[in-house]
Point group: C2
Chain length 748, copies 2
């Protein structure tokens, strides 16, 4: 085969892409690819649905939140297993602030008083649902303590746009308690925005339209949220920084310097409580005021009013503000050739209660994968690079375990971390992948090989068919002839943040979803019994996830040249820039039109004068901004990444030393997207391409410095961030050019 | 002024549109326009909210459906008033088939039996709601008699697309009873389509999402439908022919030849019953089978399943199939110069129960208008043409009164009818107009003058502002700089059908709406108490409607040249043709794509194999059709209508004799859109441009022969109808050319 490749090499500047098409595996010589693929067959044979099932039964047998006895037991159980599979395993402990409720009172006062139950009943059909003494009650972690009595206002999802709508209705939340539906943003946004508008308390409920009977039959007859089901969850202001509120930027070790609680800006300013739709009903029924816009309606059998109501609401919350120890399991399988290049894999092990789907379904897939690789190594499989398998604790409260570990090991990780592969729960259906866009071709290579257990085609084919069926006309045009799975962009939501957004480690998040929908999320009903009936009976997709993530790990560990594609990154960023220019132009045009409509009194003519609606106010015009620096940087990035990708295939022929130099650039290129100053108003988030939205939370904001500048109409900041991103792209292009230089200077 | 006009005339072939811009009123000399506008001021001063209120109180004091004592009293009361205002008034009687219920039983059998209440309770707050002995019970007129027991299937809206969805779910309605939500089509479509698919019974209910608490507070606290409220209504197969089922095409006079009931194809084939959402709840709750698609969900607090249920449903309906006499009031004010040119105005007077909004709010506006014109005539106002004011009976059952009268007087109407102006209920808000597109500029002229009572701008300005605010981006682009109110196209739904679609009389339908929404429709709660609280308190919009329709009547009566605009017709039809070509092309492209998706097994990959979904079946390809004849006819129509409109303004200078010739062409041009053979499968509907949809009912299908051919994938019929429409447009253009010839040959 060598001759053949050498022959092609001569033409590589012109026909470079042909080489990669000829390659068996991205970044491998043909010989090594054949061997690697042989071991992958063996790997698949090692995977065991029965093991995944057994482990899930143990890990979900009792509530296993941070600080619980079962949480620690689970860490030790897993550590024992990893050791037995040949991994160098430790339990990494951190001490973090973790509030739990002392008092939870919510009541409607007045003529028709109602005291909220705040209780999820045990079910005969669910054997762990009755473990009352061990369960965390339904609450929002990092709510403020508080005892407030006030009128209630319904704020829809509680995002900024909803407050604009309330203003049109002439309603203020100042001094009021708000009630918001779950959904439409990360939950922590709701109390944050409420407090910004002067509210003194916040109730969040699961509306049955989104998360209850409207979606399907409720548990235990069906998978969906029953009337008393409550979504627990953290309301830490994670878009500012995740992890322990008292130790931003550093590991929460015993000796770490801690903030006072009053200094921790990620703790909510007002009391917040999540409730069920049964508890929400009397509160919503008590409201008067305007009938809400159609888009605000939920699925309760009432007329939704914005409020306020005649009757006041009393909300009293008090918490134990304890420091608790968390237990991360860290299991290493050292590489034989490049032990200081780490491929890191993580899933959290803590749940809000018994947490079967979230997170154990992902955890057992990761364990199965680690076990199989361990078996392979025992049989002679060689790993060039080091694998680091992690089981994180305290994810649910705000990515505590992964963030503290990443902060604690930041120096080492900046040097050694090649990539971080995350999972966090799994069900049936279609493969779902998001992450650094340099990994897109590599992920597609794997998705093309893993077989969907239900249809017998590759998971890529199945996703494509399904995406096509679900797409609208425009989307179908885009999809036609293009089976490439576009990676989603990562915001917040699971344990990649410390790696990707704080340190600049290329990351990938994987799961299967779409056919195991349900309403168990963060309730006592996310149990083994629920999972095995409604999510992934038989763990077929647990196995598929192990196959997918396992291939990512093993190929990354053994590739001669790391499977990083600069040009995919360029293409994605150039799409984002085009989006942002359109966003700015549209914002300008919409502002002009809106202002003209106000001046022409169209809003005054459209409104019903018998209702108290306010017409909107004139907004400041949108300036033109200078994108030329960024556009020029993109031209440079395009040229350099195209040049490199033509040469990429020849990298496998470099000397070991040159390959090491090349690989270091390949995995450290993501670091060049880090700006140590961080994003405006949140210096912890340093990545210039991916961040959680300041006002959306989970929802990613790509090129966040620019995008949020536009969205928040801060033109000076937008222009500054265009310059910062330009510089970042120039630095990235320089890295790419250096990578090219390494290959081109190779003496043949 | 004469010199000035003559001067402009010389340039009229080039600058013709300037002439109309200079004219004070379309079709009037300046002098006559000034006088006419003076009388209109006097007309406005005559209108009286107090009278409208008093008349409404009388007319709604008891249930006044066809055959009721109050129905007859109302006809006599109005006839007396018309006479007192100087009108030659008669009561025109017809004898029609009108079934009323003897037996209504609906029950769910099995373990959790439920017997439907089928009863709207009296309310303290509504003084006529307790007139139990006089009220028609809740039922669907022209349902079949039947006694059926079967499994129940939920069919969403019960339109053809819903049955395609059911087929994908693997559900047949053969031998079953179906339950459908109101909405999405005219109600009569639901049992018709159900019967076509083999169902043996049909239940229709008002879902609270569309028509109940989701929309707003329910009566009597708010305007919306309470839990026991039922929408009565006809299920006659009106898209085949309206009016008395036993006398299609001829007036139902005492001596008319009648069909046997078994021959009357507009009577439904299966029993049908409308119910409240309270009665629907246990039926829907009893269903199992697949959870419905999201778009099918309603507002009840349950998981909607498609069914069938384990438990059967028993539906028993028996009717008195009586012949009843209906009473149309026909009041004429003869024209002084052209008594054989009739401007006809109508609103029905019968209600399903006390019918205040529907129809009396429109009826009293018409009466006020007639009274004011009568007063004007007493003061010396001269009407060139004859006004015919009508109050129709039996509209609710299927346009009985208006259709029988139009059929009975068809010969006379073909000769004399200039236009038909319809109203049918009114509330607050924005002007709403639909009709023959030749009347569009004329309507806009009037809408520009009538002042909106709430905002003080013209009703045209208010509608424009509101439309702009409510429009999406694309629609705003269309609206910018174009304040012309586009007339809607008329399908079915009120009394214009006999005039427009059977005889080819240009028609216009008017109302105000948008701010008086409620859930009283066809229930016992459509009462004076409801109207005066929620619809148009103070009758300000009743007065605005009188002003609008009154101007239409008076200007049509006195214009030298009738205010008909051929070019507006051309523009509208050419838009329809463009739409249909796009529809055909899109249908072809979608069929190709859909077939490819089926062949590529995308549906098989997208579906959850644990559910019993069926992938769709390959459809026959869509051929290219020959539109050239129609396109050539449109070229001719464009040229001829543009030429005529340039000359239109000079028509006022013609001799009386020439004017008469010209006007005859102007008002008879709508007759040239009639094809005596009628539309495919429904020969009663003869208009080639506007018809109710065979499978939508109320919803209009423009160029119906072509459009429904495409929708029903009958390519041969589509091509045939393209030819028919081509010929129709050629004949229309010939009429226009003759009108031009009359003007051009005028000796100046």
């Amino acid at each position: 085969m060598k001759r053949h490749i050498a022959c092609l090499l001569a033409a590589s500047f012109v026909f470079g892409t042909i080489i990669s098409a000829q390659q068996k595996l991205m970044g491998f010589t043909d010989a090594n690819a054949s061997s690697q693929m042989g071991w992958e067959k063996e790997f698949d044979a090692q995977l065991s649905a029965k093991n995944q099932d057994t482990w899930m039964q143990f890990l979900t047998s009792h509530p296993h939140h941070i600080g619980s006895p079962q949480g620690r037991k689970n860490a030790e159980y897993m550590a024992g297993l990893f050791r037995s599979w040949g991994y160098q395993t430790e339990i990494a402990e951190y001490d973090v602030l973790f509030p739990t409720p002392k008092t939870r009172i919510l009541e409607l006062l007045g003529n028709k008083p109602y005291k909220a139950k705040l209780e999820e009943p045990a079910l005969m059909e669910d054997k762990t649902s009755g473990q009352k003494g061990e369960q965390l009650p339904s609450y929002n972690a990092y709510s403020a303590d508080g005892d407030v009595t006030a009128e209630l206002v319904f704020v829809n999802r509680g995002i900024p746009a909803d407050y604009e709508e309330l203003e049109k209705m002439g309603i203020s939340v100042k001094g009021k308690i708000v009630i918001a539906k779950y959904g439409g943003s990360w939950r922590g946004i709701k109390p944050k925005v409420a407090a910004e508008h002067g509210a003194i308390g916040c109730i969040i409920y699961s509306d049955p339209e989104d998360d209850g009977y409207a979606q399907g039959d409720v548990y235990p007859a069906g998978a969906f949220r029953p009337k008393d089901g409550v979504q627990r969850g953290s309301v830490m202001d994670m878009p500012v920084y995740p992890g322990d509120p008292l130790t931003p930027g550093v590991g929460a070790t015993k000796e770490a310097k801690r903030l006072n609680r009053s200094e921790a800006i990620t703790i909510m300013k007002i009391p917040v409580l999540p409730i069920s739709y049964e508890d929400a009903l009397p509160l919503l029924q008590s409201l008067s005021g305007p009938v809400v816009p159609a888009a605000w309606r939920g699925g309760l059998p009432i007329t939704y009013h914005a409020g306020p109501g005649k009757e006041k609401v009393h909300l009293k919350l008090q918490f134990n503000w304890d420091i608790k120890t968390l237990y991360n399991v860290i299991a290493k399988l050292p590489g034989t050739e490049l032990p200081d290049e780490w491929i890191i894999r993580g899933n959290h092990h803590d749940g809000w209660v018994n947490g079967a789907a979230d997170p154990i379904s992902g955890m057992v897939a990761e364990m199965d994968e680690a076990k199989a690789i361990g078996e392979l190594v025992k049989k002679g499989f060689k790993l060039k690079r080091t694998l680091v398998y992690c089981a994180w604790d305290g994810e649910e409260q705000g990515l505590l375990g992964s963030t503290e570990w990443a902060e604690d090991h930041q120096e080492e990780l900046r040097k050694k971390a090649v990539a971080y592969i995350n999972t966090d729960g799994n069900s049936r259906g279609f493969v779902n992948a998001a992450g650094s866009h340099t990994l897109e071709p590599f992920f597609n290579e794997i998705a093309n090989e893993v077989i969907d257990p239900q249809t017998g085609v590759s998971i890529k084919e199945r996703k494509y068919g399904s995406d096509f069926v679900k797409a609208d006309k425009t989307a179908r045009t885009k999809l036609t002839g293009n089976k490439n799975i576009k990676l989603g962009a990562l915001g917040a939501g699971s344990d990649w943040s410390g790696f990707l957004q704080f340190l600049g480690v290329a990351s990938l998040h994987l799961c299967f979803s779409g056919e195991g929908n349900g309403g168990e999320y963060h309730s006592i009903y996310d149990s083994y019994d629920h999972f095995i009936k409604f999510k992934d009976p038989g763990f077929q997709y647990g196995i598929a996830l192990s196959k997918t993530a396992g291939r990512v790990m093993m190929r990354m560990a053994n590739a001669e040249v790391l499977p990083i594609d600069f040009n995919s990154f360029y293409k994605t960023v150039s799409e984002y820039v085009a989006e942002l220019k359109t966003l700015l132009d549209n914002t300008r045009a919409e502002t002009e039109q809106e202002n003209k409509m106000i001046q022409d009194k169209f809003y005054d003519l459209a409104k019903d004068p018998t209702k108290g609606f306010q017409s909107p106010k004139i907004k400041e015009g949108v300036p033109f901004l200078n994108f030329s620096g960024l556009e020029n940087a993109l031209v440079q990035l395009k040229a350099s990444t195209e040049e490199f990708q033509k040469l990429y295939g020849t990298g496998t022929q470099l000397s070991a030393d040159k390959q090491k130099q090349l690989n270091e650039i390949l995995y450290k290129v993501e670091r060049s997207l880090i700006n140590e100053k961080g994003l405006p108003r949140r210096s912890w988030y340093k990545h210039q391409v991916y961040a959680p939205g300041y006002y959306t939370g989970y929802g990613v904001k790509t090129l966040p410095g620019i995008r949020e500048g536009i969205e928040q109409r801060n033109w000076k900041e937008t222009q500054e961030n265009i310059e910062i991103v330009s510089k970042t792209m120039e630095a990235y292009a320089t890295q790419v050019q250096q990578a090219t230089a390494i290959i081109v200077k190779k003496p043949f």
